[in-house]
Every structure is written in structure tokens, then in C-alpha cells.
């Protein structure tokens, strides 16, 4: 009963404090806004139901994360208030048992937290049912969905988190330690778990997440189909359930441990590190205290000038620095987190097992820096720690009950403020030093010894530190102004959330979001590429604000006992001296001047539009010009360009012409033309015309021809395009369209800078929500393949010719065979590219200091061959050989299998930017980010680049020649076939063993975990189906039906659909024609429904026979299910031909040994025994050894137990 009393007292005590209520309010608002504004479902392309169990559960998960950070005070107070306030001797000496005391306190904290978390469900409910919600996206009210989210997500989290917050506070005797516990949980739940997930542990890594964010979101976000997301009820199962049970167990054990360890005993020190620093603990000092004749203190000179104030500030900074550095969170920041980062680097500095070259700029910009406004990865803990440290520093003297002594000293407020701020600066600078160490150690371990210390200093201290410092000033002001520790933390966190979620609240301009700026970028090719300038202007502007905030912090700085608002305002007025006024005026002046300059750049020199306005324009565009979508327009038959690139001026001039042909059956009287946005375009025709419509805002122009263009006739359109930067834009220079593409080294722009003919349906709004809001008719995102007109013509290909001029030190690239290069008198270099074969897709243009590899490729007997060129950054030539080898092999094999390579050129170009991806923009061109060229396959490990290039080369057939219709299954036509081609190429060139290794990397859950539900392949839309399941199915088919037959079918498909768009049905028809009747059911299972086979070899034994052969007995289990798109699985009886394989012992370097026996057997559902004879000694064997049908690796093959000796002895 005492427990009950303690519980009630604690509950009542905290209910009268402000923080439980404010936390509740913040959570309610967060849940409401994130449901309404759809922070979570923003990733859903289709319509979503606002109150679907998925949204409710997802909002609960994210709200738990927020709750974890804002509400630790509840548990901290319950656990450590008595010690903190010095009341504990009274409590400990009272006749209360440990269990009653701790139990009552813990229960109170738990119940209070459970109550606070209830606000999340209330917020979700309000978002769906309060006025303002769109009734179209409200589904039926399902109370169980809310109950499930609360009971299965929130309550377990309340228990787990309260346990750790409570324990941390109890052990240290400081309520604030609960924040440390919280940040620890947060760190485990997201950064650590995510790193483990990526490190190859896959779903097993998700077990490390104490509050289940990753476990739950991974399951729901990536594995549920859109249909499931709208209807499926949330329950705990599989990895989610395991995770919850594990952590509930750990929480219970922790509670028991804490209860056992806790003593009602006198506390001497409250140093959180005392378990480690026991030796340094303050020992009782012996008071000698003999009566002594007083000696008077010497008179020394005192000074109260600026120099003294600076010294005072530095002294406070030093004290503050050590306070943080010696605390557990400080050690975490300076040692623990950098060590974590080193581990992350160790696992993530690779792609498909190939190490990435640890170049300094790449390491820094990809792994160690991030803007304050983005909280997308593990570095989010740094701002959280800043909030915590700021609180500790602002409250330091008051926590030590020394504030009256210090406040009465003749030290101005600004010295305290500056000193503490400098202390934090030192800590953060220490963090930067740690990062430098981590970077250099990582580089040294990888054998990279070019430590560019200057770059470390420049990027970490020059670019990253200011991000954090700006935020620190804000946190200081908030803590000083709020003047209640927990509320200060809460308010700082809310401020941080507002910063990172600003765009969801409609604040998009960087002038409006504290600390925001365009991002800088650094790549080997471009360097900073002019990105630092805009960054710096914005940061200076925010630094001026920070100065103003600092003045405010000084005015509001609490000194002495007065905490009332009125008194503080009065005191602030007293402190508002002339110098303060001067500084404030200077800051305000800077804000106005810098803000004005920035505004002039972003909004006057350039056009600034918000997301809403952009959506509005796209809606207007469709409404106004959609009627022109199907009108006859001339088709581009050839392109001729003269491009002058001036890298140093960051400008380019394009003079060009299109030959436009009327391929229609009626005369065309007007040409619809859309020039690129934000560049100057001028247009003329080779005949009389009038400019009848010029809508620059929506980007649509109509030119009426004096004389209509007759069918079959052509005309020439001449244009003039100027690419020139005008100041900078709100988004900086990187993401601002064609006009900003020209830089000193690493120019990249596309034909997007050139005018296009006709209405562009791709510019229409596609999000269902946007369309509804703007009253546009609902659009089926993608039609089923059967609903597409099979004769729709493919987009027009055109011949291409370009003469590109650039500075003498650079190589310019445009699509085509390089005919000629020359230099002119002003030492500019010119490149003449031509493609007589019409090309399609996007044309891309580059200019940089490239290293060029050039060779001719030709099939024996071909007349002229292909001009094969590879353009890479001079420092990135390591991969050149491998890239060329793959390109050659692809050309050989694909030409032979799928039809000749139609173009006279093949260009592989390194595209500036650190991304790790390759792609195909247009015919004959493959581009790859700088990240790809940092792959460093030293030794003869897995050669990922061969596979990647092979895939992109596949797109020259699948995507460039065979063009998918805009319909479901389009990704199968392009991506699946491209990966399938790469697999066949690897099998043919490098062998089955290499294919096996390749497939192993394909099966990793990152980036695309398997989705068992969803649409069948013929209508596939999700990436796993396109990039993984499709290729697996094609490979299985080629193994069953025959490589030649399947490839032959694809070859026919290319020929047949040379001039029209293809759907999966076209492909399926050809595959059916190539498949014998006996395998029709398999084809059906692979493409028409979602079939999953599961094979498991339970036991494998072998016995030597009298004749010296080996008799192998396999005990196998087989299962086949079909899943529908709502997640329902139906088991089907099976009776199919499945491979059985027996293998010899593996040679070094092999995964599987030499196949001794691979034959198809009839396999039924369930368990069965299979016996085969082999001549050599078997080592391993099993069912479906190459994972043709069972796409999960693991249990198909087992080691064979040899029982031969017994048989032999009997024989004798």
C-alpha cells in the first residue's frame, strides 16, 4: 500500500509540473501535423488513406521517436529528484522498502509516459476527423487500428524507454541523466541499427533497435504494397515481434538489476563516471584547522576592461569545455560517436563488396558532414547533443548551487554567455578533430596515404562547424529565455524540429528557416564548383541573426534570483546600454543588408517559386495546354548544334537547328514549342511565321506558320540558347536547372536546355493528392499492359550533329562518333560529334579535363565498327580497363544474342557528382557518377563494375531499342531484361561461379528487400520486382527453356517492336512461343501470378557402393505458394521438375565445388527422399542449388555426411 501512496504522490507531483503537459501538447501537434501534412506518407505515390492502420502505426512510430527526446524529464524526475534536491536522506531513512519506493516511482513515470503517448492517437484521430480533412481520403473508422498502434507500439516503448531513462537517472542521481539515456536509445534505435542493417546483417541487425522504429518501418514501409498500406491491419509478427519481445525482456532484466543494485545509502559524489573514475573521486579532506593568525590578503590591481573580460570568458570556456568533455555524453561525442563512424565507414565504404577509394573530399562530404536542416541520417544526434550540452552549461552554476557566488562577481553577463558558448565551440571543434582522426585512420587502413589536411580543415572547420555553431546560439538563447531546464530542452528540441520540418510547414525560403542555406558540394571533378559562395552569403546572414540572438540572450540572461517575466524585462531594459544598442543595431543592419542582397539574387535576379506555386503552375499548364496533347505536330528528324562552352565564365552559347518533319496525314499550321526554363532562348523558322502565344511562366509557345506544313514536308527551326548564371538561387547552384550547369571543370547539361516540340505530358501533376486539390481529373497512374494501344509509335529518334568548343585544357563530349577535333587561334578546342543513325533519349553534354580512352569495336566482318570512348577524371583511371572490358564483352555478347548494336559510337562518361550510380540517358551513352569511379577493386575480389556496366550496356537494347510503353510492367521491359542480360553475360564470360557471387550481392536486402506480395511480373511496379524478381524469373526460364530459345525470343521482340512501344504482354507472347508446352505452367507461375517456391534440404548423406561409386540420399522439403496483392498466401500442390545438384569439394576461391550431378527431378510438395549416384566423392548437395526458383539463399544446399566406411567394412 505504501507503493500505492508513493505512486499517487509522484503522479500528483508531476501532474502539477508543466513538462508532462507541454510534452503532451507537442506530441499531439506533431501527430496531427504529420498525419495531415503527410510527412510519413509523402513517399506514397498513390492515393493513401489518412486513417489506414499503416499511417496510424507509422505516425505512432515517428511520434515515439519525438517523445523519446522531449519527455525524459518524467522518468528522470521520478528517479532522481530526491537525490538532486537533497531530500534523499529523509526518504531513505523512512520505513519504506526499496521495492515500494522504486516501484511506486517507476510506475508513476510509466503511467505518465503512457498518458503522454496517448496524445499521439488523439492527434491521429483529430487529423482524420477534425474539420479540414479531405473526406475522400478518410477510410472507415477502425478503432482496432488505434488500439494496435497504441498497445503494440507506444506502450512497449513507454515501458522500455522509461526503464532506461529511469535507470540512468537513478544510477547517477541526476534527473538530467535520463536525457542521456534517451539519446542513447535514440542512437541505438536509428543510427546503430541502420548501420548494422547495412553492414550485411540485414534483418538480424534490426534486433538492435530498442524502440522498434527501424524494425517496424522496414517491415511496413518497404515490404507492404500500396494496397496493403491502405487496408492491412497492423500486428506484430516476424522480425517486429522478435524485436519487441527481445527489448521487453532486456527492459525487465534491467529493472531487476537496478532494483537489486540500488541501495538506500548515503551518496558522496554524483559524478556519472564514478564507476570508471573511482580513483579520482573526491576523498574527504582532512581539516587541519589550527587557529592561525590572520594574514591579510595582498592588495592587487584589478581591472574591469575588455581584456579582463576576454580572459574571464576564456576561463569560463575552459571550465565549460572540461565539464562537457568529462561527462558521459561529452565522451560519447568526442570518442564514442567517432568510433561508431569509423565502423560505419568500415562497412559502408564499399559497394557490392568492392571497396571505395577513401578520397578525403568524398569521405567528408558523404559521411561526415550534413546541413543542420536535414536530419536524414545518424548525424542527427549532434544537434541533440548540442541542445543537451547547452542546457548543462546554462544551468551549470545553478545546478552546483554556486550561482549566487558567481552572479555577485563583477563579470558582465555577456562574458558568461560568451565563455560558455566558446566552451561549446571548443567541444565541437574537438569533435571535428576526432572526425579528422577517424577519416585519416580509415584512409590509412585502406592504404590511402594522401592525407589532405587542408581539405579536412576547410570542410570540417570551415563548413560544418558553422552549421552547428549557429544552432548552438539559438539553443543558448532558448535556454536563457525559457529559464526552466526541462522546458528549455523541450523548447530547443521543438525549435530543432521546426527547422528540419520547415518545408512541410510551408517555409521553403532559406531566408526564413534559421540556419538554412543552399548546400555546398565537393567532388573531385568540380571541387566546390561555386557552391560555397551562396552557402556563405546565407550563413553570414544567419550569423547576423545569431549575433542578434546573442544580444537577446545577454539581455535575458538570468542573474540572481529573479525569474519573473516582468522583472526580467525590467532588468533587460537596465542592461540595454548604448554599446548593446550599437551591437544590436549593427546586427540588424547586417541582417537587412545581407538579407536584401540574398533576396536580390534569389528573387529578383532569379525567379523564386514555392512548391505550391510550382504545383499550381503544373496544374495550370495541364488545364490550359492539355488540349494540345494529341494535335499533330512535326517530328524532329535531325539536330544540329554549335555549342561554345566558356567554363571560366560559367556560360555557354548554343546555336542549333532542328529539322522538323510532318509525319502526320494532315497539314500542320502551327508549331508548339517549349523552351527550357531559366535560360534565354530565341527561335526562328526558315519560313514566314507569327508568334501567336508566348507564355513564359508556364513555358508554352505557339508559332503559327504562314503556310501549313504538308504531310511529308519538313521545315527548319533555328534557335539560340544562352546558358549563364545570374547570381544565385535559393537552392544554390547545384539543383537549379540547365542554366547553372556550366562550371570551371565538370560542366554537365542535357538537351533539357534546348526547346522541345509539343505539349509535354510528363510535366503534368502525377500525385493523386495534388491532382485532387487542383480539381484535375483522377489519373490512373499507370495503365495495365493490356490497356495500351500496341501500335503507339515510339518517340522519334533523330540524327545528331554537334560541334562543341571549350577551353584548351578540356575535352567536350556530346553524343555521336567523334569525327574531328581541332584548336583555333584563341586556343579553344573544338569537337565534332556525329550520329547518322537516329538516336533517342536525352542528349547529354560535358566539358572537363578528362582522360580519354578510345578504341574501335567491331564484330568480325562489320564494315566500320563502333567508336568506343571512355571519359574519366584524370585521378579516376583505376577502373578504366575493367569498364572497357565489360563494354566490349557486352557489345560482343548482346549483339550476337539480341541483335546488332545499331549505333556507330559508344560513350562512357564520368558525370560530376559523388553519387554511386550509372545510367543511360540516351542512345550510345552511358554515364556514371564519380562514386562509381571511386570503386577500388584491388586484388581479384568481386568485380562489381563489370556487372554494373553490363547492366547499363543492356539498356542500349532494353530501353533504347526496345522502348517500354508507359504502362504497368514497364520496368520489367527495361530493368529486368538489362539485369538478365548482365547475368547471362557474366555466366558466359566469367562462369557460373562468378554468376553465383553476383547473385549473392543481388539478394542483399539493401536497397531492395524482397516484396512477396504485390502485382505479378507482367504488371510489376515495385523496384524489387523490376530489379530482382524479373531477372531471377528470366534466368530461371533460360535455364529451363534454354538460353538460346529465350534470347532468340527477345531478339524477335526487338525486331518486331523497332518502331512501337512494347509492353510485358508483347514480351510474354514471344516467351510463350519459345517455351515448350511442358514448361508452360512454369512460365505462368513466373509471370502471371506471384509464385514463391521454398526448398529446404534437411539432410544429405552418402554411402560408397561396392563398385566405388557414391550413393547420395537427400531428404528435401518443397513448398509452393501464390501470394495476392493484399498479402494473402495460398499454398499450391506442386509436382514439378526441380534441379538436384551434387558437388565435389570446393577448390580455394570457389563457393561451390565442381558439379558432379545436376539433373531435374520431379518434386512434389512436402518432404521426400531423393537418391542419386555419383562417381566422385561428393561434398555438398541439395535441391535447386543455383536458386533458380527459390530466391532466398541459405538452406537449399547442405554438406553431405559420408557414411561410407561402414559399408566398406561390411563388404570385407
Amino acid at each position: 500500500m505504501k507503493l500505492w501512496g508513493i505512486f499517487r504522490f509522484e503522479l500528483a507531483y508531476q501532474m502539477r509540473r508543466p513538462w508532462p503537459w507541454l510534452s503532451t501538447a507537442v506530441l499531439l501537434v506533431f501527430a496531427f501535423v504529420s498525419t495531415r501534412v503527410a510527412i510519413v506518407p509523402v513517399t506514397l505515390p498513390q492515393d493513401f488513406i489518412l486513417n489506414s492502420p499503416f499511417i496510424i502505426a507509422a505516425v505512432s512510430v515517428f511520434s515515439c521517436q519525438i517523445w523519446l527526446l522531449i519527455a525524459p524529464a518524467v522518468a528522470g524526475e521520478a528517479a532522481a529528484r530526491d537525490v538532486h534536491t537533497g531530500l534523499h536522506p529523509l526518504v531513505y531513512a523512512s520505513p519504506v522498502s526499496k521495492t515500494e519506493y522504486l516501484g511506486g516511482r517507476f510506475l508513476a513515470a510509466f503511467i505518465l509516459n503512457a498518458w503522454i503517448l496517448l496524445a499521439v492517437q488523439v492527434g491521429s484521430l483529430l487529423a482524420a476527423y477534425a474539420p479540414g480533412a479531405n473526406p475522400e481520403i478518410i477510410g472507415p473508422f477502425r478503432p482496432t487500428a488505434y488500439l494496435a498502434a497504441y498497445g503494440l507500439i507506444a506502450l512497449p516503448n513507454a515501458l522500455i524507454a522509461t526503464t532506461f531513462q529511469f535507470s540512468a537517472a537513478l544510477l547517477s542521481g541526476r534527473p538530467m541523466a535520463s536525457y542521456v539515456g534517451s539519446i542513447g536509445l535514440f542512437f541505438l534505435s536509428y543510427p546503430v541499427t541502420f548501420a548494422l542493417y547495412l553492414s550485411g546483417l540485414g534483418e538480424r541487425g534490426l534486433l538492435a533497435d530498442p524502440i522498434g522504429i527501424m524494425a517496424i518501418m522496414n517491415e511496413m514501409m518497404s515490404k507492404w504494397t500500396i494496397v496493403e498500406k491502405n487496408v492491412r491491419m497492423f500486428t506484430l509478427q516476424g522480425p517486429m515481434l522478435l524485436n519487441r519481445l527481445l527489448w521487453l525482456g532486456i527492459a525487465c532484466l534491467t529493472l531487476t538489476f537496478i532494483a537489486l543494485r540500488f541501495r538506500f545509502a548515503h551518496r558522496t559524489a554524483t559524478d556519472p563516471l564514478r564507476w570508471f573514475t573511482r580513483f579520482a573521486r573526491a576523498a574527504p579532506a582532512r581539516d587541519t584547522a589550527p587557529v592561525r593568525i590572520a594574514i591579510s590578503a595582498p592588495h592587487v590591481r584589478r581591472s574591469f576592461g575588455f581584456a579582463t573580460h576576454l580572459r574571464q570568458a576564456l576561463s569560463i570556456a575552459r571550465v565549460s569545455f572540461w565539464l562537457i568533455v568529462k561527462s558521459l555524453p561529452g565522451l560519447f561525442l568526442l570518442v564514442g560517436f567517432p568510433m561508431f563512424l569509423a565502423l560505419v565507414l568500415a562497412t559502408e565504404l564499399q559497394h557490392w563488396g568492392v571497396p571505395l577509394l577513401p578520397r578525403t573530399g568524398f569521405l567528408l562530404s558523404k559521411f561526415m558532414t550534413s546541413p543542420l536542416t536535414q536530419a536524414a541520417d545518424y548525424r542527427v544526434v549532434i544537434p541533440l547533443l548540442i541542445v543537451y550540452f547547452t542546457g548543462e552549461l546554462v544551468w551549470r552554476e545553478r545546478d552546483a548551487r554556486l550561482s549566487e557566488n558567481t552572479d555577485a562577481t563583477p563579470t558582465p553577463e555577456w562574458v558568461f554567455f560568451l565563455g560558455k558558448f566558446l566552451g561549446l565551440v571548443l567541444v565541437l571543434a574537438g569533435y571535428m578533430v576526432s572526425l579528422t582522426a577517424v577519416g585519416m585512420i580509415t584512409q590509412a587502413l585502406e592504404g590511402y596515404y594522401d592525407f589532405e589536411l587542408g581539405q579536412y580543415a576547410q570542410i570540417l572547420f570551415g563548413l560544418q562547424l558553422p552549421e552547428y555553431l549557429l544552432f548552438a546560439v539559438l539553443a543558448f538563447l532558448i535556454h536563457a529565455a525559457v529559464n526552466q531546464k526541462y522546458l528549455g530542452l523541450l523548447a530547443s528540441l521543438v525549435a530543432y524540429f521546426l527547422i528540419i520540418f520547415a518545408s512541410f510547414l510551408g517555409l521553403e525560403h532559406n531566408l526564413l528557416v534559421y540556419g538554412a542555406s543552399p548546400e555546398w558540394s565537393f567532388t573531385d571533378m568540380r571541387g566546390f564548383g561555386g557552391s560555397v559562395g551562396p552557402w556563405a552569403w546565407f550563413k553570414l546572414y544567419w550569423a547576423a541573426w545569431a549575433l542578434l540572438l546573442a544580444v537577446a540572450a545577454r539581455l535575458l540572461w538570468v542573474r540572481g534570483r529573479e525569474a519573473g517575466l516582468v522583472t526580467r524585462v525590467r532588468v533587460a531594459r537596465l542592461r540595454f546600454t548604448r554599446s548593446t544598442l550599437g551591437i544590436a543595431a549593427m546586427a540588424a543592419g547586417l541582417i537587412v543588408a545581407l538579407g536584401g542582397f540574398i533576396f536580390y539574387n534569389t528573387n529578383v535576379l532569379n525567379e523564386y517559386i514555392t512548391k505550391d506555386e510550382l504545383v499550381q503552375r503544373r496544374a495550370d499548364y495541364e488545364r490550359l495546354y492539355g488540349k494540345y496533347e494529341d494535335i499533330p505536330q512535326p517530328v524532329r528528324a535531325s539536330t544540329k548544334l554549335n555549342i561554345e562552352i566558356h567554363p571560366r565564365r560559367r556560360a555557354a552559347t548554343i546555336r542549333g537547328s532542328y529539322r522538323l518533319v510532318n509525319r502526320d496525314v494532315v497539314p500542320i499550321d502551327s508549331v508548339h514549342l517549349e523552351p527550357a526554363f531559366y535560360v534565354d532562348t530565341r527561335v526562328t523558322f526558315d519560313r514566314a511565321f507569327s508568334h501567336v502565344l508566348a507564355d513564359d511562366k508556364l513555358g508554352h509557345h505557339i508559332y503559327a506558320l504562314a503556310e501549313p506544313l504538308q504531310p511529308g514536308d519538313s521545315l527548319t527551326l533555328d534557335f539560340d540558347v544562352q546558358l549563364e548564371p545570374r547570381g544565385f538561387r535559393n537552392s544554390g547552384s547545384a539543383k537549379s536547372g540547365a542554366g547553372m550547369g556550366v562550371v570551371e571543370n565538370g560542366t554537365y547539361f542535357t538537351s533539357g536546355a534546348l526547346p522541345v516540340i509539343g505539349y509535354q505530358p510528363l510535366r503534368e501533376l502525377w500525385s493523386a493528392d495534388d491532382r485532387r486539390r487542383h480539381g484535375l481529373p483522377r489519373q490512373v497512374t499507370l495503365p495495365a499492359p493490356g490497356d495500351v494501344d500496341p501500335s503507339v509509335a515510339a518517340g522519334a529518334a533523330a540524327t545528331f550533329e554537334a560541334i562543341v568548343g571549350t577551353d584548351s585544357g578540356q575535352v567536350a563530349v556530346a553524343p555521336g562518333e567523334l569525327r574531328r577535333t581541332w584548336s583555333d587561334a584563341r586556343s579553344r578546342r573544338y569537337f565534332h560529334y556525329v550520329s547518322d543513325v537516329p538516336i533517342n533519349g536525352m542528349d547529354v553534354f560535358f566539358s572537363a579535363d578528362y582522360t580519354v580512352h578510345r578504341e574501335r569495336w567491331g564484330l568480325p566482318g562489320a564494315e566500320r565498327g563502333v567508336d568506343l570512348q571512355v571519359f574519366v577524371h584524370p585521378g579516376h583511371t583505376k577502373l578504366l580497363e575493367r569498364v572497357v572490358r565489360s563494354a566490349r564483352a557486352s557489345l560482343d555478347y548482346y549483339s550476337a544474342q539480341f541483335g546488332p548494336y545499331p549505333y556507330r559510337f559508344l560513350q562512357i562518361v564520368e558525370q560530376p557528382g559523388n553519387f554511386l550510380g550509372m545510367g543511360v540517358d540516351g542512345s550510345g551513352v552511358v554515364t556514371g557518377g564519380e562514386g562509381v569511379f571511386q570503386l577500388d577493386p584491388h586484388g581479384d575480389g568481386f568485380d562489381a563494375i563489370f556487372e554494373i556496366v553490363a547492366h547499363e550496356m543492356g539498356h542500349q537494347w532494353w530501353g533504347m531499342q526496345l522502348k517500354p510503353a508507359f504502362a504497368e510492367g514497364g520496368g520489367v521491359i527495361s530493368e529486368s531484361l538489362a539485369w538478365y542480360s548482365a547475368m547471362e553475360l557474366v555466366k558466359n564470360v566469367k562462369g557460373r561461379e562468378a554468376l553465383r557471387r553476383f547473385m549473392h550481392f543481388m539478394r542483399e536486402p539493401n536497397p531492395w528487400p524482397a516484396i512477396r506480395t504485390g502485382l505479378p511480373l507482367l504488371r510489376a511496379m515495385d523496384p524489387w520486382a523490376n530489379y530482382r524478381k524479373g531477372p531471377y524469373a528470366m534466368l530461371a526460364l533460360s535455364e529451363y527453356v534454354g538460353e538460346k530459345q529465350v534470347n532468340g525470343a527477345l531478339r524477335t521482340l526487338v525486331q518486331q517492336k523497332a518502331s512501337s512501344l512494347a509492353t510485358t504482354l508483347d514480351m510474354y507472347r514471344e516467351l510463350q512461343a519459345a517455351t515448350p508446352d511442358s514448361l508452360e505452367p512454369l512460365l505462368h507461375d513466373l509471370f502471371e501470378v506471384n509464385t514463391f517456391w521454398t526448398f529446404d534440404t534437411k539432410k544429405a548423406t552418402a554411402m560408397r557402393t561396392a563398385l566405388g561409386a557414391w550413393q547420395v540420399t537427400l531428404d528435401v522439403e518443397a513448398r509452393k505458394v501464390v501470394a495476392d496483392s493484399a498479402g494473402k498466401e495460398t499454398e499450391l500442390p506442386m509436382n514439378e521438375w526441380i534441379e538436384i545438384g551434387i558437388f565435389a569439394a570446393a577448390e580455394p576461391g570457389e563457393i561451390l565445388g565442381k558439379p558432379l550431378y545436376v539433373q531435374k527431378h520431379r518434386i512434389r510438395s512436402g518432404r521426400q527422399t531423393i537418391t542419386v549416384m555419383v562417381l566422385q566423392k561428393p561434398a555438398r548437395g541439395g535441391i535447386d542449388p543455383y536458386n533458380l526458383l527459390d530466391w532466398e539463399e541459405g538452406d537449399n544446399i547442405e554438406r553431405i555426411e559420408v557414411q561410407g566406411s561402414e559399408v566398406e567394412s561390411k563388404k570385407r
Binding site: 579520482a280 581539516d287 595582498p298 580572459r311 552546483a400 549566487e404 557566488n405 552572479d407 563579470t411
Partner: protein, 307 residues
């Protein structure tokens, strides 16, 4: 050198009126502020130590040696702090720092910028407060008395002209108390030392002037010796048994009762012989205090004693 307090009032937000029109004139030397717990002593001290705001009134520090001659204590806080030594009633320490280090830090905060001078002063003060031997030990291990002496050292830094010590002897053992008071009195030779206490002996032993405060009001402002002398012939004592007490309290102006070896001794304020059994007593400062608190002398209205 003089501190003039005029009409200072302070009401807390919960309605408690901590100071009511307090006016005092405090000359150089030791000045005792005597009053029961909750009388408003600490509030007044904190207001004078720039840590709290007064609602109304003024406080001026007049010092011919100061450049501006006069400092408005309530508004010119920075000026006050330059000449202020303050020892709060309660304070803590950073447990993991040595006395030497923390005192050095405070010396810098007090404006002693030169490191050598700072060290010299810090060591001298540590000697003076008798913490020299333990100067390198962590403050977390200090006893209450040692911490108190450390606080004194902090307050003494920078040779303050205005010294405010709030109940400094509360946690000290008798020897420490003696030494501490000696230290203060030395300081009182050329500065204003304002000492608040509820221990009468602290004042009687040291202070040249004193004031008695209760419920936010100054009841008496006097020199201790003079006040005691004024009472001569008006204090009477009588040894009684416990049951008699109620009747005596009803009939006489009892100012205090004490137990002495099992008997009760009452002291009574009376201009003439109060009655049989009473004998004249030699007044002390405690009698001044109790007479003031019971309203026989000073500004509190006299109690209605039954004739």
C-alpha cells in the same frame, strides 16, 4: 563609506511581502542584521548583493574613495559588483575541482586579470581561511565548515568595500565561528560589512551597529551597547514552576522563558518592579532582541498587557 537604504519594499509573486519600506543607514564597520527565520533578512541581503530586484526604494553606497562617490546599488549593478563581497546563506561547489583552481577562477571573475597576482591572492586567502593545506583537494570532499570558509575566501577576493554575509555562522563549529568572526571584524575596519544572523551573540560580540528586523520591517536600529544600557533597570527575572507560567504571562510583559536546571526562568520587561518574587536582572543583547520582538521597545506597537 556608508550604505543608505531608503524605503526598500519587496513583495513576492505569491503575495508574501518580504520587505516593507525598509530604511537603514549602515556606516563602515560591522553591522548586524538580527531577526528570526523568514524575517526578510536574506531578501534584503540579496537585493543589496544585486541578485534580486526591489519593487521600490533606493540604496546608495557613498564612498569618497570611489570615483563616482555614490553608487546606486539597485541600478548600477556592475559598479556594485566591483566592490562587493557576498557570502550567500547556502551555496554549493563544483565537487570535482580543487579549492585552488576554483578560487583562481573566481579571482579572475572578480577582475584580477594578471595570473601571478591571482595566484598570490588566492594562496594568501587560502592561508587566511585556513584551507592552505587542503588547497589541492577536491571540493567535493570538504566538510560544511571548510566549504563555508572557502565561500569566505571567495567573498574576500578583491578587497571588497561592501561585504554582505548571510547567516555565515550557521554551520560552523565553535572554533570555526570564532575565527570567522575575527576575520570579518578585521575587514570591518575600512568597509561596510553587513552580517545577517539569527544568533544574538554574533552581533553582540562584533557589531558596532545593528538592526532588528521581523516580518519585513525594521523594528529597531541601534548600537548594541547603547541598546543594552538603555534596558538597564527594566529587565526582571524570576524562577517559577511550570504551572505558574500561564498566569505570569497573562499579567506581565514576559519577553523570554528559559529552562534552567529543571526550573523555569522568566524574564520580564517592566519599568518598575513587576511584583513579588522578581529580581532585577542585568540586561544583555538577547533581552534587547526579545524586548523588540515583543514590542516593548522599538517600532512594533506595544502589546496590550493586562494591568
Amino acid at each position: 563609506m556608508e550604505l543608505q537604504i531608503r524605503g526598500v519594499s519587496k513583495t513576492y509573486s505569491n503575495g508574501v511581502q518580504a520587505l516593507k519600506q525598509v530604511s537603514l543607514t549602515i556606516p563602515a564597520g560591522m553591522y548586524g542584521l538580527l531577526g528570526p527565520n523568514g524575517a526578510g533578512k536574506s531578501t534584503l541581503m540579496r537585493i543589496l548583493a544585486t541578485l534580486q530586484e526591489a519593487d521600490s526604494g533606493s540604496a546608495t553606497l557613498c564612498d569618497p574613495s570611489l570615483s563616482s562617490k555614490q553608487v546606486d546599488v539597485l541600478r548600477q549593478k556592475d559598479e556594485v559588483r566591483k566592490t562587493l563581497g557576498y557570502l550567500p546563506q547556502e551555496f554549493g561547489v563544483y565537487p570535482n575541482v580543487s579549492a585552488e583552481t576554483l578560487l583562481d577562477h573566481f579571482a579572475l571573475l572578480k577582475g584580477i586579470a594578471e595570473p601571478r597576482a591571482r595566484r598570490e591572492v588566492a594562496l594568501a586567502l587560502l592561508h587566511q581561511v585556513n584551507l592552505w593545506e587542503v588547497r589541492k583537494q577536491k571540493l567535493g570532499g570538504y566538510s560544511g565548515g571548510m566549504r563555508q570558509r572557502f565561500g569566505v575566501a571567495v567573498a574576500l577576493l578583491g578587497n571588497p568595500k561592501l561585504m554582505i554575509v548571510d547567516e555565515p555562522t550557521a554551520g560552523l563549529d565553535p572554533a570555526e565561528r570564532v575565527r570567522f568572526l575575527n576575520l570579518l571584524s578585521e575587514l570591518g575596519e575600512n568597509s561596510v560589512v553587513l552580517l545577517s544572523t539569527h544568533i544574538v551573540d554574533d552581533v553582540s560580540e562584533l557589531c558596532t551597529r545593528m538592526a532588528i528586523i521581523d516580518q519585513g520591517e525594521i523594528l529597531l536600529e541601534a548600537e548594541p551597547l547603547g541598546a543594552v544600557a538603555d534596558l538597564r533597570g527594566r529587565i526582571w527575572r524570576r524562577v517559577i514552576s511550570k504551572p505558574e507560567l500561564a498566569a505570569i504571562e497573562r499579567e506581565h510583559g514576559v519577553i523570554s522563558t528559559k529552562l534552567l536546571a529543571g526550573r523555569t526562568v522568566v524574564r520580564v520587561y517592566s519599568d518598575g518592579v513587576p511584583g513579588p518574587g522578581f529580581e532585577p536582572a542585568e540586561p544583555d543583547l538577547e533581552d534587547v532582541y526579545f524586548s523588540t520582538m515583543t514590542g516593548h521597545i522599538g517600532r512594533r506597537p506595544s502589546p496590550q498587557v493586562a494591568p
